[in-house]
Amino acid sequence: MTDKHKVLLTIPMYPDMELTAAKTGSVIAELMSFNEGQIEEIQLAIIETCINAFEHSQSRDNQIVIEFIMKDNELEFKITDQGVGFKSTSKHTAPKKNVYSDLRKRGWGLEIIKTLMDEVEIKTGTNGTTVSIVKRKTV
C-alpha cells in the first residue's frame, strides 16, 4: 500500500466539524463505488467517532486526525485524538434496551459504530486514542 491511496484530514474539535470529516469520507467512499447505504453508514461511523473524541478526549491540541486508507475492497479509516484516553475502569457495555431512562442514557455511539462497520479496533492510552475502522464493500 503506497501513499497513493491515503487521504489525511485534520479537523478542529468544533461543533459540526464532524460533518466535514463525514463528507470527506463520503466522497472517498463514493469514488470507491460503495453503495448509497454503505456511504451513509460510513458517514455515521465517522460522525460518532468524532463526537466521542470531541466529548471525551479532553485533548489539549483540540484536533482530530483522520487517515483514510483506500484498499481494493475496503475503506479503512483511523481517527486519532491526542487526548487522555479511555478511562480504564469504564468497561464499555451496551446499554439496556427495556426502559426509557436506560434508552435515553448515552452510550450508543460505539454500539452504532460496531453494528454498522466490519471491524473496529480501539488503541487508547494516556497519550490519546486511535479508533481504526474497516468497512468492506461486500459483507
Binding site: 463525514a22 455515521l44 460522525i47 460518532e48 426509557y100 435515553r104 450508543w108 454500539e111 452504532i112 453494528t115
Partner: protein, 114 residues
C-alpha cells in the same frame, strides 16, 4: 426564522406532522424538541416525525427523539416515524426505538396508523 428554515410543522385536526431538513444533531434536535413540546402543550398526542429530508442523524439526535417519545407517552400519545433510510431504520431498531414508536415508509401510512 431559523425554525422556518429547518423545521416544518403541519397541524391537522387530530394529529400533527413535524418535518426537518438537514443534520439531526444536538442543535437541530433542540429545535425539534421545542416544537414537539409546543405541540404536546397544545394538546396534540398523535405526532408524526417525517425524516425524509433529514440526511443524517447522530446518536445525540436519537436521544432527543427518545425524549420526545417519553414525553408523549406521559400524555398517552403516539409517535410514528416515516421517511427513514435503511441505515436509519437499522439504527432505530438496534436502539429499540421501534418498540415505542412506529416506523412507516411514508407520511400517509404513518398518519393512518397513529
Amino acid at each position: 426564522m431559523k425554525k422556518a428554515l429547518n423545521i416544518q410543522i403541519r397541524e391537522a385536526e387530530e394529529h400533527a406532522v413535524i418535518e426537518m431538513e438537514g443534520y439531526l444533531n444536538d442543535s437541530l434536535g433542540e429545535e425539534l424538541s421545542e416544537e414537539a413540546h409546543t405541540l404536546i402543550e397544545k394538546g396534540y398526542t398523535k405526532l408524526v416525525i417525517n425524516l425524509e429530508k433529514t440526511s443524517l442523524i447522530n446518536s445525540i439526535g436519537i436521544s432527543i427523539l427518545i425524549e420526545i417519545i417519553e414525553s408523549l407517552d406521559e400524555h398517552e400519545g403516539t409517535l410514528n416515524f416515516c421517511g427513514l433510510t435503511s441505515t436509519q431504520e437499522r439504527t432505530f431498531r438496534m436502539m429499540a426505538l421501534a418498540k415505542y414508536a412506529g416506523i412507516f415508509p411514508d407520511e400517509k401510512a404513518a398518519i393512518a396508523n397513529l
